[in-house]
Amino acid sequence: MCGDQSEYMYGVFVTFAFPTPTYSAPAPFGSADFYNETEFFTDDAMTKSFAFGLDMRYSSTGTVFQPYWVDYSNDYVYHNVGTALSAPDGRLHTFMAIPSCDNCSTWDVFYDFAKVGTTGGQPGPSSHHLMTGWLLSGMSGQMGLSATSNRVMYLNGNYQFQRFGRSAVTSRAPAGNCSPGANPKYCFRFDTAITTSPGTGENFVVSWDVTKPMVSPGLVAHPAPTSGGAGLDDTASLEQRAQRLVDAHLGGKR
């Protein structure tokens, strides 16, 4: 899900729980590397940013749940946050990024309200663009994820965290193809939880909800969905944009 806010955004908040994974291929045959990431872009060209989230890696030794944050300011710098877990802890975890000082272009990063780092200098002190969701950088064998719900907000000029208006976000819908025989890499189920402000009737985005079911084997392999086709409620550029970002971030860097 992308948040493109006309109002200046000065920070970001996201809270989510670690999902419970399931695997079709038992160790040591399967592997997967998932990132539940929220990225805050600090230039309109979306070339500079910082991000944080959960890296969930499955390998022959089990699953590692590692919170992290990444600084894309001048170079790619990856920071582990805390100690990795070997199983979901069941609780919600919260990331926040708040400007380090008034009108400066560095942000303090908080995980569960404790400061875990400060970004390098970014191009500017504010943003109009944010992205949240799952990245799948590799999967051998099938893997499913229980429902995750990224509750995301941005910090406005009054230093108040606000939800995005529905019109300010673009998201992929309907969900990816999970029919038997489909390409598992594209099997995600999405939903955007909306709340309506009493009185004004305005819709606000509460969360971006994702599940990844297991794809049953099928006789006919379905092709990966193409961008911009019927069934996308937002522009085709969304998916293209997301792909560019994924390619740029995951291009051998992790």
Partner: protein
């Protein structure tokens, strides 16, 4: 201990002044019900807070210790209006209240007395007067001491004034009895031709007796406090098992942008403005329920998953809580709610309950919070 005698020149008229060396009170009060050590300790601290101790309300070191220290110069005039002379003295009033007992003790001494050489030691009288007004009080027979300057020099202390209140007396659910103790003095020259000098309100001391019983929380069932003292709840940032609680309080007070609800100009009380304890369990529940609405709104209905609890600051046990201070509109709250580990929340609650008990903080009593470490 004897103090060294000095000679002074009076500023007006360059009267030669006789100087009477004074004794400190500590040794003299050893026979009282208050320990000499307690007296010495409070007196030392009181001297270090002279600016406060010299006010009419004195200086309250704690809920159980308060002191007053004044230097008085009394000018006396004959009934025909002509100036007679003066005497001066130091007045110390050390007050002790008790956790576990409905009793207050006043240890009083008059020291460093001097008077004009034009006045006779035997005719100059100083009377220190305590009152004991109100219901449900047990007052001692000796509420005052009148003596000559020479007499005060010979024995600088009054007998300890002890005022008590019966355990079952008082009003309201906590059986409280309020005492406003006023101390005054009279200066006289008993020659039949001099106008006495009266000062009725030299010191005012506010006392409350209670028998809150188990409602107080983690404390003794009855006790006495000086209500001039607004206690401070010291919460350590680390090391007390309530780190997340302390961080939450810290963020609310100092980094409101990190907290919810998002309120423009959020200015939570506790440091500059006091909190006030709320003891009504129904209202406390309403406060917590309102805070939970914040947690649910921000983190969702699963906010408590994985052993978390919705923590709130200002605490649910205060009138500044999420419902009481907002008319049950927590979106307008000058406070914060967030999920924190249940263990930290529980430990924070225990520390707060201990604080309430140790300081006998009852309903609507003010208190501050201070983060330490």
């Amino acid at each position: 201990m004897m103090r060294r005698a000095v000679t002074l020149l009076a500023a007006v008229g360059a009267l030669l002044v006789s100087v009477i060396p004074a004794t400190t009170s500590a040794a003299a009060v050893t026979a009282s019900r208050v320990s000499a050590r307690a007296v010495t300790d409070l007196r030392s601290e009181c001297a270090a807070h002279q600016a406060e101790a010299g006010r009419v309300q004195g200086w309250a070191r704690s809920r159980f210790e308060q002191c007053h220290h004044y230097t008085e110069k009394v000018s006396l005039y004959k009934t025909n209006g002509s100036y007679l002379g003066y005497f001066d003295f130091e007045l110390w009033i050390l007050a002790f209240a008790y956790d576990g007992s409905r009793r207050v003790d006043y240890v009083t001494s008059v020291e460093n007395v001097h008077q004009s050489t034009t006045m006779s030691d035997e005719l100059t009288w100083l009377t220190i007067r305590f009152d004991c007004r109100g219901t449900d009080l047990v007052c001692p027979a000796g509420l005052s001491r009148a003596d000559t300057i020479a007499g005060w020099y010979a024995r600088s202390t009054m007998d300890t004034v002890t005022i008590t209140s019966p355990d079952t007396a008082g009003s309201g659910p906590y059986k409280t009895v309020a005492l406003t103790e006023t101390v005054g003095f009279t200066g006289e020259y008993r020659d039949g031709r001099t106008t006495p000098f009266y000062k009725d309100t030299e010191a005012i001391n506010h006392v409350r007796f209670d028998s809150a019983d188990s409602a107080l929380g983690n404390g003794k069932y009855k006790g006495t406090v000086f209500t001039d003292h607004v206690p401070r709840f010291a919460l350590a940032r680390t090391g007390e098992g309530a780190d997340e609680e302390a961080r939450h309080v810290d963020d609310t007070l100092h980094h409101p942008e990190r907290t919810f609800p998002a309120v423009i100009g959020k200015n939570a009380p506790g440091e500059n403005a006091p909190l006030h304890r709320l003891m009504d369990p129904t209202k406390r529940r309403a406060n917590h329920d309102a805070a939970v609405r914040v947690c649910t709104n921000v983190w969702g209905t699963n906010y408590a998953a994985g052993g978390m609890e919705c923590d709130e600051y200002p605490f649910q046990s205060t009138y500044e809580g999420a419902a009481e201070s907002t008319g049950n509109q927590p979106g307008l709250w000058n406070g914060s709610a967030r999920p924190i580990p249940a263990a930290d929340n529980g430990r924070g609650g225990t520390l707060l309950a201990n604080f309430y008990g140790a300081n006998r903080v009852l309903d609507n009593d003010a208190f501050f919070i201070a983060l330490t470490g």
